[in-house]
């Protein structure tokens, strides 16, 4: 396999570098005030201070743990429900369309209600994340389980295999690709939901921090916080993609 051509590295590198340079120049030369648009160095400075002395680290940790906890909860629920419904044609007819409808709704709209129910702490954030994540994982699981090849299922029937055996041997492994797709959506939604809940009412967290910084007009720190959020979300997404490739190795392995 050829090594990366220089066009693949040089051009994107140029793009990023060019962007940052242009940013710095516009801020400096346009005389733009730091409270409107901070320069890249200001943001970097705010980032290092926020992480070392400031609350940014604690906020990031809060958001990360709340999101992950909610993810774990929501995904297990979605997976369990998906396995139950996916294996049963009747349940599928009754439940699947409703779940698809639910998934289409902006579930973050529930955030204010959840907060008035569960309070300011992590509980409401975890609940919000769990609710948002369950639907895509459920849909992915059900779709995946329905994707089993009918010939394989016939083979198992002829061999007299029971429901459980067919589920574990054929339907579940075949569903893994779809489940991971659902998980990918869920991860993105998790951070969004957590941040939104923190916007509305919280004592800590990146969402809370971003909002409070905006009232203080501290743009550099705000950008820094947003950057941390982006890295967190992107990092988790990338990790998930890695896991996906390792587990569903037969789709992505060498040919």
């Amino acid at each position: 396999m050829k090594g990366p051509r220089y066009g693949d590295i040089l051009l994107p590198g140029l793009g990023v570098a060019g962007f940052i340079a242009a940013w710095a120049v516009v801020v400096r030369l346009g005389g733009i005030d730091a409270s409107v648009l901070p320069g890249p160095l200001d943001v970097l400075h705010a980032l290092s201070i926020g992480l070392s002395q400031g609350p940014l680290g604690g906020d990031a940790l809060f958001t990360l743990s709340a999101s992950l906890a909610g993810l774990a909860l929501g995904c297990s629920l979605g997976l369990a429900a998906g396995v139950l419904v996916g294996g049963n044609a009747t349940a599928h007819r009754f439940i699947y369309p409703v779940a698809m409808g639910v998934q289409a709704m902006p579930l973050v709209a529930l955030a204010p209600l959840l907060i008035s129910a569960f309070g300011l702490g992590a509980g409401s954030k975890i609940a919000m994340v769990a609710i948002s994540c369950a639907a895509p994982v459920f849909v992915g699981t059900v779709t995946g389980m329905g994707s089993a090849s009918p010939e394989l299922l016939s083979l198992y029937r002829v061999c007299g295999a029971g429901r459980w055996r067919t589920l574990v041997d054929v339907k579940l492994p075949g569903a893994l690709d779809y489940i991971f797709a659902g998980l990918q959506v869920a991860v993105a939604l998790a951070f969004v939901s957590c941040v939104v809940a923190e916007f509305i009412a919280s004592e800590r967290g990146l969402g809370y921090r971003i909002r409070s910084l905006s009232t203080q007009l501290d743009m550099s720190s705000m950008f820094a916080a947003i950057a941390v959020l982006a890295v967190m979300g992107g990092g988790c997404g990338a990790l998930l993609r890695l896991l996906h490739r390792r587990v569903v190795h037969w789709r992505h392995g060498p040919r």
Binding site: L152, L155, V158, G160, R165, T166, D169, W250, R251
Partner: protein
């Protein structure tokens, strides 16, 4: 290598006066009408017919996945009332489990039947060696060509030593050259294991090359139009593809189909 335990006694298949009618949203669909055929315990029988004539339904009846509307299906003298594991199946697509190795794929029916896998491991290895895949046991299906995957599917069909092997157009998804070599492979493996085989195809040369007897089916509703014995010596070779008797049989079948098409 003679596979141990290849039993003889009445393992044949008999379909007696089968009617098969499907209920569809547009009314009843007659798939098969008064169809009777049999496969002896060591016979290789091909079913030849146009698309949609119900060939695949035949196979589903034979293994018990479908119940006939009328008539009965007998396997080794006993009526087939529910899915029976004494049959091996090979589909058009290999349909291997992509997350299992080649060896584990051959053992899939064993797992599905709840039998101890360890007991059959050696047999799986022998079957794969017989199919010429000895060096690929730890590989994954995606690393194999279509023909090789189909050979794995064949080994899988034989793992539990079934009395009857059902094959549903197993080579139609392969390219022409692979088809020819697979034909020879199948003959070679069959001669070693000597099962009853019901082989569905719509390739005339394939049917003549491989079979002891050819059952010609009509279009829907499927009936048996004629049965032809292929009286050529075994093992048949590439040279036989040009043999006058071979060409005769092919011509006869082709003419029959053309006539049936014109009449339809």
């Amino acid at each position: 290598m003679d596979v141990p335990g290849a039993s003889d006694a009445g393992q044949g298949l008999r379909l007696e006066h089968i009617d098969l009618v499907y209920a569809t949203s547009r009314g009843p669909l007659e798939a098969l009408r008064d169809l009777s055929l049999s496969v002896g315990p060591r016979e290789f029988v091909s079913v030849l017919g146009p698309s949609g004539c119900g060939k695949s339904s035949l196979l589903q009846l034979a293994c018990g996945l479908l119940a006939p509307t009328a008539g009965r299906v007998l396997l080794a003298g006993e009526p087939v009332l529910r899915p029976r594991s004494e049959v091996g199946i090979v589909f058009q697509q290999p349909t291997l489990l992509p997350w299992k190795t080649v060896l584990d794929n051959v053992l899939v029916p064993i797992r599905a039947m709840g039998l101890p896998v360890a007991d059959y491991r050696q047999r799986a290895e022998e079957l794969l060696a017989l199919a010429g895949l000895a060096g690929f046991m730890r590989h994954y299906p995606r690393e194999l060509s279509g023909g090789m995957q189909q050979r794995v599917a064949l080994a899988r069909g034989l793992i539990h030593d079934p009395g009857l092997l059902l094959m549903d157009e197993p080579f139609s998804a392969l390219d022409a050259m692979t088809r020819e070599s697979m034909m020879e492979e199948l003959q070679r493996i069959w001669l070693k294991t000597r099962k009853a085989v019901l082989f569905v195809t719509h390739s005339i040369p394939e049917a003549v090359y491989l079979s002891d007897r050819i059952v010609v089916m009509s279009g829907r509703p499927g009936r048996v139009l004629e049965q032809i014995d292929v009286d050529m010596a075994r093992p048949r070779t590439q040279d036989d593809l040009g043999h006058p008797r071979f060409l005769d049989l092919c011509r006869h079948l082709r003419d029959g189909f053309r006539a049936a098409e014109a009449a339809a």
